[in-house]
Amino acid sequence: MDINLIVNGAAYSRQSAYTALKFAEQACDQGHSISQVFFYRDGVSQGNFLAMTLADEFNAVEAWVAFARDHDVKLVVCVSAAERRGIINQQQQAEFGKPSANLHPAFAVEGLGAMHDASLSANRTVTFR
């Protein structure tokens, strides 16, 4: 089956990043495909590569990047949610004249249309709050 995910919870502060990732890994192990993981609301913080967790703590951005690479999954942060929360990539940095960027390049920046596209085409949509 084709499954897409929506992840709304913040990295570190909430377990939802972890739960979503474990679910996604297991789905792939069972032969399903994860068409897209869309990060919305505080979930966009999961693309911030400046996050530094302790060696024995779960690091959401590293875990998502590895997962997406291993299973060829599209990671997307919602552009409006991310800009409001200060998560931007180098292109946005240039566009808005900001001094830096912090979104991992493995994450695409797209609008809520991407969330709908994926939800309308996938067999299942699973939201993690």
Binding site: M1, T19, F23, D29, F128, R129
Partner: protein
């Protein structure tokens, strides 16, 4: 179309989520994850919720790993513990998921 309803928050913090059972339909399933598994430790806390689920024909599951992490000892034989593979199977087995 049957739904998998996931509940994430603690019964003790947000009891209204458990009253939203009124919005579920016969044949739906409920999966308790994260803080929602805390209620399994008390033989009383979830009793009336589970009785209503039984009457409505709604199966109740809880995520084993989230129980283990928190040291929760499931007091209910009507709640089936599932691993992440079981979570995936519940998503596949229902037409949609709703995250309450």
């Amino acid at each position: 179309m049957s739904a998998l309803i996931t509940i994430t928050e603690s019964l003790f913090n947000r009891p209204s989520l458990y009253e939203q059972l009124a919005f579920a339909s016969n044949g739906d399933s409920i999966l308790l994850i994260q803080d929602a598994v805390l209620g399994l430790q008390s033989p009383i806390a979830l009793a009336s919720f589970l009785a209503k689920c039984d009457v409505q024909g709604i199966g109740v599951f809880a995520l084993q790993e989230d129980c283990d992490l928190r040291g929760i000892d499931n007091q209910y034989n009507t709640i089936s513990l599932v691993d992440y593979a079981g979570f995936v199977a519940l998503v596949v087995g229902n037409e949609k998921q709703i995250a309450w």
